[in-house]
């Protein structure tokens, strides 16, 4: 019984997690969830595009823009996680300072912000892209109009990464 640390509450348990753990999880989630969102969006729009192009082959090239918008979401995730990882520095010693805790939490939550924001954005762009492909197959005039909706949808991802980057600017382990 003697050597084992005893925790008296959840606060101690969670507070005892190393800030580095928080930071790396956040960095991983930024890229992981963004890629999940992008992939989700691509399969939603891609399956509709493939089927609709059977009867209307002219839509093939134009509607790849929807896929590109989804891909952009993954790129946002890559950008955010690269920026986050530049803040990660190994510190000598075992002491956990307030500065390190701040950095840990900041990087975790900014990673999560970017990740979940891009997840939602990717799915949204995918659903809009699917509708765009189907509408374009019926009537070519509709393509540009529905593309405007997709542009608004992909703006959501940008909001997410802007907030994420701002949150992590002051995070330093040193």
């Amino acid at each position: 019984m003697g050597d084992i640390d005893t925790y008296f509450g959840w606060g101690e348990l969670i507070g005892g997690i190393s800030p580095y753990a928080w930071a790396f999880i956040g960095t991983g989630l930024a890229i992981g969830l963004s890629v999940l969102g992008a992939a989700w969006g691509i399969f939603i729009t891609g399956s509709s595009l493939v089927g609709a192009a059977i009867k209307a082959p002219r839509i093939r090239s134009k509607n790849l823009i929807s896929v590109i918008f989804c891909e952009a979401v993954a790129i946002y995730g890559v950008i955010v996680s690269i920026i986050l990882q530049t803040h990660l520095d190994p510190v000598e010693g075992t002491e956990v300072t307030a500065k390190m805790k701040f950095a840990g939490y900041a990087i975790f939550w900014s990673g999560l912000t970017a990740g979940i924001g891009n997840l939602a954005c990717g799915v949204c762009v995918g659903v809009c892209g699917s509708g765009c492909a189907l509408a374009d197959a019926q009537d070519g005039n509709l393509f540009v109009k529905i593309l405007v909706i997709e542009i608004f949808a992909s703006a959501l991802g940008i909001f997410a990464i802007i907030v994420a980057i701002i949150m992590s600017t002051k995070a330093n382990f040193e």
């Binding site: 989700w40 399969f43 939603i44 399956s47 509709s48 595009l49 493939v50 089927g51 609709a52 059977i54 009867k55 209307a56 799915v123 995918g126 659903v127 699917s130 509708g131 492909a133 189907l134 197959a137 019926q138 009537d139 005039n141």
Partner: protein
């Protein structure tokens, strides 16, 4: 609601293929061209420039309307089977359900034909290809409902529906002499048909609302309600001259639909067409049906229902990520085949003044600006106001 996130995993491809097929449904200009034709062979030429293509190329001229109808239906069946082969659950079961209606019709066709001593091979040729099942040709052999069930129907997907039919026959009747209802004669066959259809509609409704859910449930509920109401009204009108007693009739009305339970209660009491009209009066969508048929010869009850059905089926395409559009596509193409056959019959029998009495499906598909169809106001996609 969340279906838009995961529907496309399994069904996105097939939905977009169906929408591609739907864009090939004949439009205003196609019908105008078909109406200008002099003979049915000219129609073959006109159809070549549509999605039908050269499907009639190997048929000898002069072309008869039955051949035209068969070939058009064959094309629909080919497309349906192409979709069904690639479908996964629950869409695969949904598409199976679409075929059960045709199975019931085929079964009744064979039994009726056998009753009137028609040749089985000839009857099999007339069966709808979507409703073929193993053992269908054997349905001509048995003489009673029970034998029919045990020999043929029990192994088919419509087997469970037949159980209701047998219950109908076995139910103890109040009153003196009870004729053996088990023998298959004309009136019993009609009872069987309606009982099977009632069980089928209710089962399909339960499947769509519980297993599929979401938008599929919404759209199919409206469509199946219309089917059920149509059957209730047709049963009532067709049974005026027959000996069908009230209890039997009430048991045949489906329990889904806008008309059930108050409307069907009133319909079961109706003895003539005026009573039916009065029973339908509270229901805005059906109010106009019988009065149209009564006043002018232009629209029959059947056509009025077809128009209602087409309006609902067109609306099914307004939403994405549901199964209703598979049903809607099959029904719209069926209507198109009926229209083509109508035009062909009018041309071949030289009755051109009736030629534009088909039900229009789309207006100017793919022409860019889609004109709003100026049909009877159906209300926002749902037929029938709430009864008082």
């Amino acid at each position: 609601m969340g279906s838009m996130m995961y529907y496309n995993v399994d069904h996105g491809f097939l939905e977009s293929v169906v929408r591609g097929f739907r864009s090939g449904i004949l439009g205003q200009t196609d019908y105008a061209n078909l109406q200008q034709c002099e003979t049915v062979d000219d129609m073959k030429l006109q159809l070549q420039s549509t999605d039908y293509g050269n499907f009639l190329a190997s048929e000898p001229s002069p072309l008869s309307t039955t051949v035209l109808a068969t070939k058009c239906t064959e094309k629909l069946v080919a497309e349906f089977n192409h979709l069904r082969a690639q479908a996964v659950e629950p869409l695969a079961t949904f598409m199976e359900y679409i075929t059960y209606g045709y199975m019931i019709d085929n079964l009744i066709l064979i039994i009726t034909g056998a009753l009137h001593d028609r040749d089985t091979a000839e009857l099999m040729a007339k069966c709808h290809p979507l409703g073929l099942f193993d053992g269908l040709s054997a349905a001509s052999i048995p003489n009673t409902a029970k034998d029919l069930y045990e020999m043929v129907v029990v192994e088919t997907p419509i087997g469970p529906y037949f159980v209701d039919v047998l219950n109908l026959f076995r139910a103890p009747q109040v009153g003196g002499n009870q004729p053996t209802m088990e023998d298959l004669n004309d009136i019993n066959i009609e009872i069987i048909r309606n009982a099977l259809y009632k069980a089928y509609l209710e089962d399909f409704y339960a499947f769509a609302t519980t297993k599929c859910g979401g938008e599929t449930a919404e759209i199919m509920a409206g469509i199946l309600d219309l089917e059920a109401d149509r059957r209730s009204i047709n049963i009532t009108i067709n049974s005026f001259a027959t000996e069908l007693d009230r209890d039997q009739k009430t048991k045949l009305f489906p329990s889904i639909g806008v008309l059930s339970p108050e409307g069907t209660a009133r319909l079961s009491l109706a003895q003539d067409i005026d009573a039916v009209r009065a029973a339908l009066d509270p229901y805005a969508a059906y109010r106009g049906i019988l009065s149209d048929a009564g006043d002018s010869e232009d629209k029959s009850v059947e056509n009025a229902f077809f128009e209602l059905e087409v309006a609902l089926n067109k609306d099914a395409f307004e939403q994405q990520f549901h199964f209703g559009l598979f049903w809607a596509y099959v029904k719209l193409r069926e209507q198109e085949v009926r229209n083509i056959v109508w035009i062909a019959e009018c041309i071949s029998q030289d009755q051109r003044h009736q030629i534009n009495q088909y039900v229009t499906i789309f207006w100017g598909v793919g022409d860019g600006a889609r004109a709003e169809p100026a049909g009877p106001p159906m209300g926002a996609g749902r037929r029938g106001a709430a009864p008082p």
